[in-house]
Symmetry: C2
Subunit: 132 residues, 2 copies
DNA sequence: GTAATTGCAAAAGATTTGCCCCATT
DNA sequence: AATGGGGCAAATCTTTTGCAATTAC
């Protein structure tokens, strides 16, 4: 790993990401950091998100249908529930009984490393709204 | 559905997509169509991919780590296996025993509509290469 | 004839990069 | 002084769009 100096920009970005669970875009993070460091640039936000990703402190999340990358500081293994109405992304902890997928590749000589599971549907809040 | 006129461009794009299983990008499709219709433009490829998607004849596929959208004419429900070495995407038919995910949202009032499952690992061909 | 479709080029949106200055060691 | 990091703007990449010309019905 490259030598790394402290940087209040990078620390602020990490802190913001750790304090939310909405899996924000770089742009959303940019808006938040500017409240603390008004003259920070968007390029710096992207650069530091990539650095934090390289260090393994955050993860980049690809959500189907989202035109930009989203970021996540939740390092626990988890799945995602994506609401088709409000597009919110909820974390779902991995249960003891892990999702069993080996039967899906039976007959093929594939070595499984990890699984990415996204569940799409309607969240509680949007169901309540629809009922009105 | 909007009125739609025949178009040799759209037909060629669909035929190309139906004849491959590599889940290509718009750009790859563009290269292929140009062999048949040399002066077709990339804009036309994108426009027709979106029209075909609206008609439900093809699907757009979001692959984690791929910077551009990929397209798929396989309409059967299926999962994906993505090789971490060569980035190939393989289709995995949905088995009788569907992936059970309801326990993952137990305790939450979420209505599940569908599931997107990507399995990451190393494909047979790349395992063979590594062995050398 | 009319409306869908095209090619082209410009625009738009997301992300990366080059460059020069500033800050930290 | 050396070097990591930042700000800014330009560049890049993917995708969309406006427009005038063409084509299918």
């Amino acid at each position: 790993m490259a030598n790394r100096r402290g940087s209040k920009q990078r620390e602020a970005i990490l802190r913001i990401l750790q304090s939310t669970d909405i899996h924000p875009t770089a742009d959303w993070i940019y808006d938040q950091v500017r409240k603390v460091i008004p003259n920070i640039s968007l390029g710096t936000v992207y650069r530091n998100l990539n650095l934090l990703k390289d260090e393994g402190l955050i993860k980049e999340v690809t959500i189907y249908g989202s035109s930009s990358a989203r970021y996540d500081a939740n390092l626990e293994p988890h799945h995602h529930f994506i609401c088709l109405v409000c597009n919110s992304v909820y974390d779902l902890p991995v249960q003891d009984e892990n999702v069993n997928v080996s039967h899906l590749v039976s007959g093929r000589d594939f070595k499984i490393k990890f699984v990415k599971l996204d569940i799409f549907g309607i969240c509680d809040k949007c169901q309540a709204k629809e009922a009105n």
